[in-house]
Amino acid sequence: MKRRALVVLALCAMAWLMEVGLARYFAEHDAIAALLVRRELGTALLLLSLLCLRLFTILVAPGLCLYWCVARSYPSRS
């Protein structure tokens, strides 16, 4: 259980750190022209990654953490 908890926490922390890093990149590199006019695939993929990470940290990670908290409160048979 402890190992699983660490994996969950590490996953959430990594996603959050990557989100912060990508957000910082886009804060310094205005992507509007690249996306709307030049339709650069690389920029689009980076932005998609940022949005996926954000969806993960806001939508999925809280559920993972809550599940871990509840699940660890009773003993596992395995």
């Binding site: 804060a27 022209a33 006019v37 806001i58 009773y74």
Partner: protein, 383 residues
């Protein structure tokens, strides 16, 4: 909780139920809380939030070198985006000053500098390629120059907080010439460029004339009532959405009724014809509103229409567009619909990715253009 433990112990099915329950609980509560925590501050005009966003936009354009902010090589995009950034920055900051007059001294020098850039014909050199000259320089009979609606609206907002602005004469001239064209048009429309008529641009023209009338104490309500009837007959399509483009000289649609154009028109027209603005706002809520778990977005195409959008709409995902949703915040703010504003704001916060630093805040996905637009929308108030 021994009974709960016993019930859950060991069973895979029960673990699955537990997992689904945890996800359902968190998805239904945490995202709407996290993403909506700043919504009320913006809706209520909190000075710190508004200043942070305004300072973020001002910092973003501070590095501009030359007339354009973006240099894509596409003259039309580069020029129009520069105009939009200048216009929305002036509108947003002026709206903030109207609510917090103590900030006037802080922002006025920036506003005047941005306005000088906005009216420089070099900023939208594209206009002078399409017409013999930029409309700021001169407008000949029969020429529409509806792109001037954006410039003139910004001048009006600046004048509202800076009655002695040096560009007063230009504001008066543009308003008079645009009004003459708009109110004489049998369709209620004028061209943006030769052969191009875009009703959302015309809404900006109307808004700028309405704002000028308010500032100068002139009553144009009868003219606007008659104009609104002609404009609606020609430009309002399915579901009460505004048609994005019509054929010049008539009312033949060249594009679908679109959410991005309708939403920005609802904001612009609040300066000229609040009743028509309210009709567009109502159409967006009745026909375009898509909500899920406290998040809302606005569909780009009216029911029965489909398409791939354009630069005005931005990306379209599952039928809802970034442009319509972003501009929709302005209408929600103007019409003081707190719950609608909150729902749209949560979506902005989730996908816009706000970041703060050095006293400034911005939505990193929006870039300078997106943040300038959001500044105007998030600080919008009833006129």
């Amino acid at each position: 909780m021994p009974s709960l433990r016993a019930a859950l112990q060991g069973s895979r099915l029960r673990r699955l139920v537990l997992a689904v329950g945890c996800f359902a609980l968190t998805v239904a509560t945490i995202p709407r809380f996290v993403c909506g925590r700043d919504a009320d501050a913006f809706f209520d005009g909190d000075s710190a939030h508004q200043q942070a966003l305004a300072d973020g936009v001002i910092a973003a354009i501070a590095h501009r070198n030359g007339p354009d902010y973006y240099r894509t090589g596409v003259a039309r995009f580069d020029g129009q985006s520069a105009i939009a950034i200048d216009q929305m920055l002036i509108m947003g900051v002026s709206q903030i000053i109207q609510l917090h007059p103590e900030l006037r001294a802080k922002y006025l020098p920036t506003l005047r500098a941005v306005a000088a850039h906005l009216v420089d014909p070099k900023t939208l050199a594209y206009a002078a390629q399409e017409y013999p000259q930029h409309g700021v320089v001169a407008m000949q009979r029969g020429e529409g120059h509806a792109y001037l609606g954006y410039i003139n609206l910004a001048l009006g907002m600046l004048r509202a907080v800076d009655p002695d602005m040096p560009l007063q004469g230009l504001h008066d001239r543009l308003s008079a010439e645009l009004a003459e064209r708009l109110f004489a048009s049998p369709t209620g429309l004028i061209e943006t460029y030769p052969g191009e008529t875009w009703p959302p641009d015309v809404a900006a023209v109307a808004g700028s004339i309405g704002l000028h009338a308010k500032l100068t104490g002139r009553d144009r309500s009868a003219q606007f009532a008659a104009w609104a009837e002609r404009f609606s007959r020609c430009s309002v399509g399915a579901g009460g959405y505004l048609i994005q483009r019509v054929k010049s000289g008539g009312c033949q649609p060249l594009d679908a009724p679109r959410g991005s154009g309708t939403a920005v028109a609802a904001y612009f027209l609040s300066f000229a014809d609040p009743a028509l603005a309210a009709r567009f706002e109502s159409a967006l809520q009745n026909q375009g509103r898509r909500t899920l778990l406290g998040f809302a977005a606005i569909r780009e195409y009216a029911p029965g229409f489909e398409g791939n959008g354009d630069l005005n709409a931005g990306p379209i995902i599952f039928g809802v567009s970034v442009g319509a949703t972003g501009f929709g915040l302005g209408g929600a703010a103007v019409h003081r619909d707190r719950e609608w504003f909150r729902e749209l704001f949560r979506t902005l916060d989730l996908f816009g990715v706000p970041t703060a630093g050095a006293g400034a805040e911005r939505f990193v996905v929006g870039g300078a253009l997106g943040n300038a637009l959001l500044l105007a929308m998030l600080s919008a108030r009833p006129t």
